[in-house]
Subunit: 368 residues, 2 copies
């Protein structure tokens, strides 16, 4: 076995381009949208009152200038970027082990979220049996969603020990191959295709501009490390965003401490970002030349941002999807940097909306 | 003064094309989206149980085949198609009376909804003073929205007598020119540009197909009669959709009775569709060669459809926007017609999403 640091060496822009060649027929080229209203809100200084109680209290609010480009992976198949990684992982498995073996053994994962549906979709498309271990407390819509793609759903307790025991049990019976949700070379390259697409779309739309930065959510870190891999030989800066609630900002804290935080227990409303960042992902994200910084936002900032996206942009996003935009709107450290480095011209910033899998009931619970 | 029937003679496709020439620099070319999930749901027969208690109880559910094309006027400026009519009305006023007179007198309307914001935006863009009479019970977000475009908001009581008294008062003082929300030649031609655009987009996307039908909401009827005007010399059929609640289906009932219903009092959740159809609009919509039929849906069907659009298509729509799609999903008379006339091939149907002006609180109130 190679170490994460050794495997990280192989994470190159070319690996992301190769992934795109494989998955392109299976995923949507999701739109890259703009919104003048959000540009204007992001480019307006925050009120001094709104900084009271933050580390920036008493300072002059930053005056950054943003042109925002929203990569709408909420409009991706199964409603999240996870479809990219899942298709890539399965297509590589077939390439490496042969179709016959993969179809005979099938694949397995444990997830209560978007990875479950993504793997179920990719497996059914490629005619591979899929076993998805889900906590028995999962919402019925998620269970139904996963089953609707033809996967077998097996229930477990909700702790990681309980889930892994059920995975081991199913593997003993079926010999199914584990497809991890984020801490995996092929998953990272698959998610990185988001960056490849958005850069091409940016160039189509803004013929003589430069994409100054990209910001994505960081949960397990598959999306962020994939995006950073693609941009690692380009001038576009990559940033990450996390919820701060109950220590969900494990990546940001790990970067400060110089050591990955391996355990997180949080009930942030950004439920796709409750996991600690993976080992291989950490190798990329903790490399300053690849990811320039990770910022954290409060639950209130996530809700205010989600409201703006729903009411002003009119697109449906899940709470996890908006943490990057929340950093642009509210984080004074980030905003000061845009002001200082962007100057009068400002920055062109791509914000990845990672997913849109929410329900009207969940919206009602948040805002009712 | 000419009669509505005489003015209706002048509502021609060429008049819509001329309107488009004028307003094009000021409005968005909103996207025409497709959604495989909604095609599949619409093309699945309803269960016999779901027809119990309806006029179709006991009949074999229809087996229509739909390919749906969603014209997203929820992504239009101010979040609704109303921007088209408002810009057209003001640009024509300037053309007919001269910029000096229009700027001196200003414009006025009464509306608590999307027309208020649309007129405020168009007036501020063209540097014309605008007075908007709104019921004092309007929600603060709508008042703020209208003011944010620089219009003067004047409050009135909520009955039409009270509102018209305030309009007369302001007009006596300012000589402001009234711009009606829907019952007006120029407004109708402006809204009709929605049809011109969606037909062009359909042809770009489906190179060798025919757009079999278009369905739009019917409130005052500006959108539906404008769309029907554009398609009046083409093979594409035009249909209308209304809420049925508390008699909001005034247009459908009027067509059955052979006479326009002039008074409606309903609190349907489709709050943009609470008004009776206008006189000039009625001339178009009651012409069978222009509009082939108007269908009505229940509050539950509107909510179920709104849920599908938010959760599956991930775009934010207001309840009024989805009545056309609700007809496609639930109305057995319409579905049987698609089955019979469309056969194996089915129908390509454009559904106009008229607006997206809702709030997370309103969604919470509906679904919480």
């Amino acid at each position: 076995m190679t170490t994460p640091a050794e495997r990280a060496q192989l994470l190159t822009p070319a690996a992301v381009e190769a992934a795109y060649g494989l998955i392109q027929p299976y995923v949507h080229r999701t739109p890259l949208l703009t919104c003048k209203t959000l540009d204007s809100i992001a480019s307006t200084p925050q009120s001094p009152e709104s900084l009271v109680g933050t580390p920036f209290e008493g300072q002059t609010p930053a005056r950054p200038k943003f042109r925002l480009f929203f990569k709408c992976e909420n409009l991706q198949r199964i409603g999240a970027f996870k479809a990219r990684g899942a298709f890539h992982a399965l297509l590589r498995l077939i390439e490496e082990r042969g179709e016959e073996e993969v179809k005979r053994r099938g694949v397995i994962t444990h997830s209560s979220g978007n990875h479950a549906q993504a793997l179920a979709l990719a497996a059914s498309t490629l005619h591979i049996p899929a076993h998805i271990v889900m906590p028995s407390i999962s919402t019925s819509s998620k269970i139904a969603g996963t089953r609707s793609y033809g996967a077998e759903v097996i229930f477990s307790g909700s702790t990681s020990v309980e889930r892994e025991a059920v995975v081991a049990e199913v593997q003993a019976k079926t010999d199914a191959i584990l497809v991890p949700p984020y801490d995996d070379f092929n998953i990272i390259c698959g998610q990185g295709t988001t960056a490849l697409e958005l850069e091409a779309q940016y160039k189509e739309q803004v013929r003589s501009g430069t994409l100054d930065a990209v910001i994505t959510p960081v949960g397990g870190g598959g999306l962020n490390s994939g995006v950073a891999t693609f941009f690692s030989d380009k001038s576009t800066r990559v940033f990450g965003a996390e919820p701060a609630f109950e220590g969900a900002d494990d990546c940001r804290r790990g970067l400060q401490a110089g050591e990955r935080v391996s355990k997180v227990s949080t009930l942030t409303i950004a439920d796709g970002l409750r996991t600690p960042v993976g080992l291989l992902n950490w190798e990329v994200i903790s490399n300053k030349r690849k990811v320039e910084g990770v910022f954290a936002v409060t639950e209130e900032q996530i809700m205010a941002t989600m409201r703006l996206v729903l009411e002003r942009m009119k697109v449906v996003v899940e709470p996890s999807a908006v943490v990057g935009l929340a950093v642009c709107l509210f984080d004074e450290e980030f905003r000061k940097r845009v002001e200082e480095e962007g100057g009068e011209k400002g920055w062109d910033v791509a914000v990845v909306f990672s997913g849109g899998n929410t329900t009207v009931e969940a919206i009602a619970k948040l805002f009712g």
